[in-house]
Every structure is written in C-alpha cells, then in structure tokens.
C-alpha cells in the first residue's frame, strides 16, 4: 500500500507575522520557514504505518516554490521514501492544490493520502476535503487515530463535543489533527541519508490543470488591538472591577 503525503512550507509556527504597511499582504521575507506542523503529523503517521508493515511506500509531495524542496527533505529525513516537488507560484489556492494532487494521485495510485487538517498560514482547512471530493474518495478529517482493518481505514475524528469513528473503504483521504501522534525529530544520520533519496521536480504548468485564482486579496489588515489592561492587586479588587467597571458578573 502506497501513501501520498502532501506537505506545505509555511512560516514557522513560533513566529508572529506582521501585516505589510501598504495592506497588500503579510511580511514573510526573511522569516524562518518550516513544514506545516499538521503535515509533520501526517508524515509521522504514514511512516509509522510503513514501519508496522501496513504500508509499503511513503511519497511526500509539495506544491509551491523551489524552496519547498527543504520541506520535502525534512519529510524524507523523517522517513518518507521519495518526494515530488510541483513548481508553481507561492501558495496556490486549495482548489488548485487539490487539482494538482488529483493528477498526482492518478499517476501514483496511492491507497491513502494523509494531509494536515489545516495549514497554519492561511488556516483554510480545505485541501484534504477538496481532494476527496474531486476523486470521489471517502474522507476521514481531523483524525486522532487511524487503523487499517480488513482493507478499510478506521478513523477516529475530533468533532464538536467529543469524537466519532468512521470506517472508510480504500482508497481514502485522511487529514491529521494534533493528537494523532507526536512527530519524531529527524536524526542527523537520517538528514544525511535524506539528501540521497529521490526528489523529482515537475512544472505545475505542465500538468494540464487550471491554476487561476478564484480569490483576489482586496486588502490585509491588522486585527483591532485591545486597549491596554490593568494589573489588579487582590482578588477583592478583581471582583469589584468585574462587577462595577466591566459589569460582567
């Protein structure tokens, strides 16, 4: 069983981005970039399935600019077997990403695709569901547990108020939530080994997919900032303020 894992290069989760002063976007130049944290979880889960013998090959894919290579090398160092980079503009829309992934799925014929549930830059939380829709595959989103049983995927999902388990025929799409696993750190020997693993580069424009954006950004603004608060000295003062100033209790 082959598993496809799309991974996205995003601004590192520790960094607080700034909106550009002309309101056209956020300042990303020179910022530390990393693999989207949810995608690390997806890679980890795929690699674990291969280590258990439930999967035979893990193929990492990234769609974006040349530097997304680094993200793919990270996936290879974590244990993915090979990688595919599809060159496009920076950060194509989920619809375009899903269409490109569909082409790759038709070529690679995996039985599972593991994605992150959302990318932490644009927080769209859409690509996995869209790929599932385009392929007509079942989807197990926001997964906190995945088991392959009798040729089906049993996926436990985080939902409002708790969790639920669904059983999906294969091939299927799974999107990883935070508690699916704790991704490993790549060891130095594995980082060295990853440099020799195959990484194929394709041109997005050659895949016969319409990448035209459907959304244009009119403006990007800072969220309204909160007015500065005060430090209270005692519980009594806090209760007094909440009662008489804020009037919330």
């Amino acid at each position: 069983m082959k598993i496809l894992v799309p991974v996205k290069r995003v601004v590192d989760y520790n960094i607080k981005v700034r909106v550009k002063s002309d309101g056209t976007g956020v300042e990303t130049a020179g910022l530390k970039m990393s693999m989207n944290p949810f995608d690390e979880i997806a890679v980890e889960e795929a690699v674990r399935l291969r280590e258990k013998g439930a999967a035979t090959e893990v193929v990492a894919v990234s769609i974006g600019v040349q530097q997304a290579q680094d993200t793919l090398r990270t996936a290879l160092a974590m244990g993915a077997d090979r990688a595919i980079l599809v060159l496009t503009e920076e950060s194509p829309e989920p619809l375009a990403v899903a269409k490109i992934l569909k082409v790759l799925v038709e070529r690679e014929k995996p039985e599972l695709a593991f994605l992150g549930k959302q990318a932490i830059d644009d927080d769209m939380n859409a690509t996995g569901q869209m790929l599932a829709g385009l392929l007509g595959w079942p989807q197990g989103t926001f997964a906190s547990k995945v088991e392959i049983v009798d040729g089906r995927a049993e996926v436990t999902r985080e939902i409002d108020g708790g969790s639920e388990t669904v059983s999906l025929t294969l091939p299927a799409i799974v999107t990883a939530d935070l508690r699916l696993n704790e991704p490993r750190y790549a060891s130095l020997p594995n980082i060295m080994k990853a440099k020799k693993k195959p990484l194929e580069t394709l041109q997005g424009a050659d895949l016969g997919v319409d990448l035209t954006r459907r959304l244009t950004t009119v403006s990007v603004a800072e969220p309204p900032s909160r007015k500065a608060g005060v430090t209270v000295k005692s519980v009594a003062e806090l209760v007094e303020k909440l009662r008489n100033e804020a009037k919330v209790i």
Partner: protein
C-alpha cells in the same frame, strides 16, 4: 438572491453556531435552511429550523444515509440542491468544516472558510495566520461556498418564526463511508461556543485532578463553560473538545478567565475577541497579561479558591 444554509440542531433547537450562520445569510438574501437526518430526526430538526425568524423556507432531507452527517452523502445532497442558490453557507463547526470544502470542490469553487464579515455579495473578511491578520478577499466564482465564524455574527433568535417546510426527495447514496461510533460525553455545563463566561486552564493547573478541584468550583459559581490550552488537553487533564485556539474552538464570551495559561499565539487566536479577559498567572511577563483587561499576578492555587469564595 436566495441563499442556502446547512443548519445543525441539538435537543430540539437550532445550534447557536448555525443561528449565527443564518444571521450572516440574512445579509445576503432570502434564507432557505437545510436540515438533514433520518426520518424522525429530520422532522424534529425541521420543526426547530422553522421557528428561527429570518428563515423563509426549510428544506427537510430525511433518509438513513444522512443520519450521521457523513461528508460524502451530505456533500452530494447539498450539490444536488445548489442550482437554485447564489451562496451556500454553514457554520464553521466540525461538520461545516468537514462538508463545505467537499461541496466546493464538486462545484469547482474555491471555498471561503471562517468568514468574519460580509462586505458585499462577493467580498468577505477572514482571518489568516491565526488571526494575526484579517484578509478581505473577493471571489470570482459564480457560486460562493462559505463557512461562518459564529463568534463574529450575533445569532438569529431560536424562536419566533414559522417558515414553511418542504420535503426534499433524497436520492444520494454512499457506500464508501460508514459511521461506527460516537463518544460525546454529556455535561451540564454550557457549550464553549455559546457560553457567556469561560474559565480556562493551562499547564499551570498541573493535573486533571486540579482542574476538578480548583477550576470546576469557580466555573460552577459563574455558570461557566470550561476551556483549556492545548498543553492541558495533550496532557490529558481535560477532553479534547475543551481546547480553545487556532486549532481548537474559537470563542468570544463576555468574560474569559485564563488560569495558568501563558497566552501563546495559537491560544490567543481562539479567545482574543472575548469582551473581557482576566489573566491569573504567576508570571507578569506572560503574553496573556498583554491582552488581558485585568491581570492578577500570583499563585493560582491560592488565588482561585479565594476568588471562588468571593463570588
């Protein structure tokens, strides 16, 4: 213009998040509400949806295949109804986020998740980078597929309307996905997303036992919901659906009391639109203190019991 809103109900009422989606839809045009379930559940849900003022018509889809809101048949159903509508909406709930992008893909549309404001029929405001920036985006798609951030729209009332109900002929089928089981512990506490007051705990609490011993009595006094940071959830102090943040629940209560929570970017993303924020933390430099209206610096194990007693 007529817009379709997928509506969730619970215990005979339309969920607050769905009523926020209805309120958002009213800004766009006439509102048709879609409810689904097996025969009995869809009947009850239709009755609840019909009572929401602002709903012009209820579409009731009752069939066993729709009993568990599985994305595959539900998306096909919504797509089959889409022809009549300019906009398709749902709350940014677990179900909305699961289904609507699939609907969008089937319609060849780029969805717009987590809408916080509607500028006009094509233009919407949504958060990016954990809410550290707000993007105004304009869609060129003929149909728009939106999920609505509940905290950004005052919900439509639950009662007062009497919309007609129309049954939808359900022909969708699905054999790829099967519901197995659900684990949704019931609680007497208000839901996080609709609570007026939230008491939230983090790593500072140190254990689930301490949540029980320190936070629950405070929440009881305030009639509050209990929230948590990711660390508190990952450490097993509280169940996963308590998580507030970029990747958990987005909340905006009147009062949010953060106890032993540092205020990481990802946590702030979920609660910084709260009306009043209180931080109880031993570290005056913690980022939560910068967004809090009132901060009390000290040991939570002393402060929380004192506060509970003072209320």
């Amino acid at each position: 213009m007529t817009v379709l809103v997928f509506v969730e109900t619970e215990a005979g009422q339309v969920r607050q998040a769905s009523r926020s989606a209805i309120a958002a839809a009213e800004k766009l045009g006439d509102v048709h509400a879609l409810v689904v379930g097996d025969a009995a559940a869809s009947e009850a849900a239709a009755a609840a949806a019909a009572k929401v003022p602002g709903v012009a018509k209820v579409l009731k889809a009752g069939a066993d295949v729709l009993a568990h809101d599985l994305a595959e048949p539900l998306a096909d159903l919504i797509v089959s109804l889409a022809g009549n509508y300019t906009h398709l909406l749902a709350a940014s709930s677990a179900i909305g986020k699961n289904v609507m992008p699939r609907v969008a893909a089937l319609l060849d549309v780029q969805p717009i998740p987590d809408v916080m404001a509607i500028v006009d029929a094509d233009t919407f405001v949504r958060p990016i980078y954990a809410g550290n920036a707000l993007a105004t985006v304009k869609s060129s798609d003929a149909k728009k597929v939106l999920t609505i951030r509940a905290a950004s729209f005052d919900p439509a009332p639950a009662e007062g309307g009497s919309a007609p109900v129309e049954a939808v002929n359900v022909t969708v089928q699905d054999t790829t996905s099967r519901f197995v089981s659900q684990h949704t512990p019931t609680s007497d506490r208000p839901e996080l997303e609709s609570a007026r007051v939230i008491v939230s705990g983090g790593r500072g609490l140190q254990s689930g036992e301490n949540f029980h011993k320190y936070l629950e009595p405070l929440a009881d006094k305030l009639g509050a919901a209990i929230g948590a940071s990711r660390v508190a959830v990952d450490s097993g102090y509280v169940p996963n659906d308590c998580q507030v943040g970029q990747t958990g629940k987005i909340v905006a209560p009147e009062l949010y009391i953060a106890v032993g929570i540092s205020g990481a970017i990802q946590h702030l993303a979920g609660m910084k639109d709260s009306k009043v924020i209180v931080a109880i933390n031993k570290d005056p430099e913690a980022p939560i203190v910068q967004v809090a209206d009132y901060s009390l610096i000290g040991d939570l194990f002393e402060i929380v019991p004192e506060l509970t007693a003072a209320l």
